[in-house]
Structure formats: C-alpha cells, structure tokens
Amino acid sequence: MSESIIFYTLALFLLGGASGMITARRTIFSAASFMLSMIALSGMFALLHQSFLFLAQLLVAVGAIITLSMLVIVSVNISERYIPKEPHLGRALLLGALIAAPIVALIVVALQAHFTASFAPVPEDFGTLASIGATLFSAWVLPFELISLLLLAALVGAVVISRKGERS
C-alpha cells in the first residue's frame, strides 16, 4: 500500500517534471524540471530494489549531468535575445503529441493486453553494489570495456569540439 503511494507520487513528479521540461520557455526551468524528473527516476530505481542503480542515477544523472548542464548554461550566459522565441510552441507541442501518441498508444495497448506478470521476491543482495559488480565483471565484461572506450572517445571528442580557436 505504502509502496503504491510512493510509486504514484514519484510517477507524478517524474511525468510532471518531464512535461514541465518540454513546455518551459526559459532554459533554467527546463533544467529544474529535468532535475526533478531525474530525482524521481532514481526513486523509481529504489522502488525496484536496484539500490546501486538508485545511487548511480543520483550520482551521475543528477550530480554530474545536471550540474554540467547548469554549468554550461551559466558559462555560455546566453542573454534573452539569443534564446529561440518559439512563438508557436503550443502548436508545435500538439504536433509532436500527434506524432508521438500512436507510438506510445501502441505500446500501452499492447502492454495492457498481453502483460500480466507480477514481481517475484528477489534475493536479499539483489541490486547491491557487490552483486551488480560481480555480474558486470563476469557476464558483461565486454560491453563494459566497450563503454569505457566510448566514454574515452566522448571525452576526447568533447575536448576537441569545445576547444577555442581555429580549426582551420
């Protein structure tokens, strides 16, 4: 019961934050709403007994990514006139909703019709750092290494792209 209440509260924050993000006209409010939904998402991970994912989401998505985005917003320091006006935002959102609705509706209908499974109890150490680590470094070690390469590439790419001066 109490878990349901938590779930619906978190879902409210998650969806509210997400909708706030795409409707807000000022970038800072988009970022604030995005932060709200990311924190709610980490709460969802906690509800799913994924304790390490919960912490990783807080640490990376909220702590690092939001901070980085905010830092970019602050450092670029865009004055009001450079922010796109988007005069027909409502209409554009409606159009987007029209395009997105069939896809989402399809998933929702399919899920509701055919998906009846429910959660089974999981072992005590499910989702903890130790067990996730063991899985990561046994069955998933190749993807892990590839991701680390990707991260390195992204790091180098980010440095190269954002570097000042001539690129000839």
Binding site: L15, S69, Y82, I132, G157, S162
Partner: protein
Amino acid sequence: MTPLHFLLLSALLFGIGLIGVIARRNLFVLYMSIELMLSAVGLMLATFSRLRGDEGGAVLSLLLIAIIAAEAAVFLAMIIALFRAGRSINAHDFTQLSQEQNA
C-alpha cells in the same frame, strides 16, 4: 504496483521525450529530451531486471547511464561550439552541414 505500471510509465516518459525532440527548438531542451528518452529505456531495463531476477538488465541500465554521461559531455561541448559559431542556440539556425554557411 505491478511491472505493468513501471513499463507504462517508461512508455509515457519516452513519449514525452519524443514530443520534446519534435516540438522544441532550444538546443538545451532538445538535449534534455534525448536524455529523457534514454532514461525511459533505462527504467524499462531496470523493471525487466527486477521482474526476471536477473541482474543483466540492471547492468545494461548502468551502462546506459554511462552512455547518457558520454552523450551529455559531447552534446554540451557541441552546444558551446555552436553558440560560439552562430551566437544562437536555436536548432533551426543550424540547417547547413558546413561551418561557413552557418556562421
């Protein structure tokens, strides 16, 4: 509270992210919408992981968070570079692939 709830939530989240990508022109919002879609996938993976009692899903979700971080680094660097080149963060100002025509 069944897996269905989580999956529906993840679908809705993905839809909202999609709407953002289609409708908005602000590069920051575009970037956050893409992150949102990726996070929706992460939620789905975590749900299936919990449902099957298999930690592979959680690991995938974790790797996804790493990808989100990589994407954030590249995208934000791109925003800085684009703003420096065109004094704009309007996605519609960058319709040309070549640098000269944009500036």
